[in-house]
Symmetry: C2
Subunit: 202 residues, 2 copies
């Protein structure tokens, strides 16, 4: 039930370390996640797609009722996610992706991704879904969409201990760089159109 290493957002851990105080969960710096939330809300508002982030999986152990209408969860633990974080429907197709950011300027460390999540994404791909990773180099302000087929090559090398990360150069070669703007903030569906719907149809 412990929160696995390498998953806990670094900023969260650092703040805790630095101040020695309890850290409010909502104050963690999750820029990519926020940007994707805003993007997905925008896509929904213009009826372009229905894509949502899944809730954080939590094992609830105990619930208390301080007052009649208010259920307070007073003991719960983070669970390792068994699927990717984002899914939904676009042009009738199933969309599934995971989004990760790194402060590293030259490499994307693969320790950031769970084996269960990759297995899940591969299964979705095998069943005809459109599956990819969104990877952001937050320091460089560069965001990429890498189709799962391309990612699997790097992942296999990671599993065989051949490498621990994917270089930015490899990511640039195997991905579409995503345009960032005001609305949509990260226009990943335009990249999906280019990659998966190039001839108007899947």
């Amino acid at each position: 039930m412990k929160y696995p290493k390498g998953v806990k957002p670094r900023q969260y851990r650092n703040t805790r370390k630095a101040t020695g105080k309890k850290v409010k969960y909502g104050q963690r710096g999750m820029t990519l996640e926020k940007d994707l939330d805003v993007t997905n809300s925008y896509y929904l508002s213009i009826s372009r797609a229905v894509i949502h982030k899944k809730p954080t999986p939590v094992q609830i152990v105990n619930v208390d009722y301080p007052s009649r209408n208010r259920a307070k969860i007073d003991e719960a633990y983070f669970k390792t996610p068994s699927t990717s974080d984002y899914n939904g429907v676009y042009k009738g197709r199933y969309i599934d992706f995971e989004a990760k950011e790194t402060k590293n300027k030259t490499r994307f460390p693969l320790i950031n991704i769970h084996a269960h999540q990759v297995e899940h994404m591969k299964q979705c791909h095998d069943h005809g879904g459109i599956v990819f990773l969104i990877i952001r180099f937050s320091t460089l302000e560069e965001t990429y969409l890498m189709p799962i087929e391309k990612f699997m090559v790097h992942w296999e090398r990671f599993l065989s201990d051949e490498k621990k990360s994917v270089s930015r150069t490899d990511i640039m070669a195997d991905s579409h760089q995503l345009k960032e703007g005001l609305n949509p903030r990260i226009d990943y569906l335009s990249a999906v159109d280019e990659i998966y719907f190039r001839n108007g149809e899947f």
Copy 2:
């Protein structure tokens, strides 16, 4: 942030009332949910579909670290779900559904369903997803799959205060009854095949 009325599982509330003790979250009687979990695991194991229940949405307010590797959530609250509970991919199509059970023998009370969830399901349907409700009369041990198109007629009447529930007779007329067995426990994809893939293709 309070847990909305009419949503909290009755058995949960009753146990609390009866014993006056705290109730462990995992001990609630969620038979339909468990049956669907087993069914989805089975479908996944035979590579028939990739369908998962989304985690319960929780607003995490405070996290404590009693020990180095163990993050304990000691203040969190249930959030009203903004989407349905189940989604995934089957034969390349997006699948989305909500599952509810009632102990009522003659009617399914619509207070069990959130407006946000219905709105979400309608959006998924509009974008080409396969969307339905699984409704179980737990006392009768009858489980039905009702396509969202059929459900919307009853829902509109609910919104206009015309009725508060759907009769079992109407459900029988507008749904496919689901076969229950050992594996799969609730064979809802066979009904999906009949309704949405009757000619081999969508």
